[in-house]
Symmetry: C2
Subunit: 98 residues, 2 copies
Amino acid sequence: MADYDHPASESLTLLGVLRGLADPIRLEIVQHLGSVPEASCAALLGDRPRSSMSHHFQVLRESGLLHTRIQGVQHFNSLRKADLDERFPGLMEAILAG
Amino acid sequence: MADYDHPASESLTLLGVLRGLADPIRLEIVQHLGSVPEASCAALLGDRPRSSMSHHFQVLRESGLLHTRIQGVQHFNSLRKADLDERFPGLMEAILAG
DNA sequence: GATATTGTTCGATCAAAATCGAATTAAACC
DNA sequence: GGTTTAATTCGATTTTGATCGAACAATATC
């Protein structure tokens, strides 16, 4: 499968990031990824429908919060912490502390 | 007119605050209030309909971002910076820098 | 009291986003 | 090739939120 294209860090907007975070499921995903280097979609699934989660992963990717690395059949997600820190200093630290 | 009741700082949630910020008009209001001690609704109005702005002020109040002080016929709005800093350290600094 | 000013509330409409089952893609493995 | 596993895409539905005119409330001023 082809790789996803992730937005460049320069093109990230604060509003976009805030929109990405403004959902309970996505905030939970982000906070979970703050404490682990990466996690497969399955590992983040819980008992929710896969198609719903796929939607949230897409939103998180498009807002620049998440990077998805494809390895075989698995998709490994990680926080784009370095990019976010560079672009919005202090933001993720505050989010992950919450 | 009776005062508004603002949520106690202990009852603020990160998700609630993020939802409050996840709108272009509200983010603009918040960022503007970051650089000024307080501002009346009229001062923040721009050329938008009053009823739309009233809605956004309400959302901002309910999420704990904004405090509204009533003086005569005017409503003076201010950022609840101290409460937000106490509850979510570093968050507003990152938002206001953006 | 009449009028102007400031801002809210109501209610209807519109737009955006979440939800999720079913079908699909893609890799891995036998 | 057939099957299992991981995750997405499609499409329909539902839910949530934004928008904004009209009516209203409250204060100030003449």
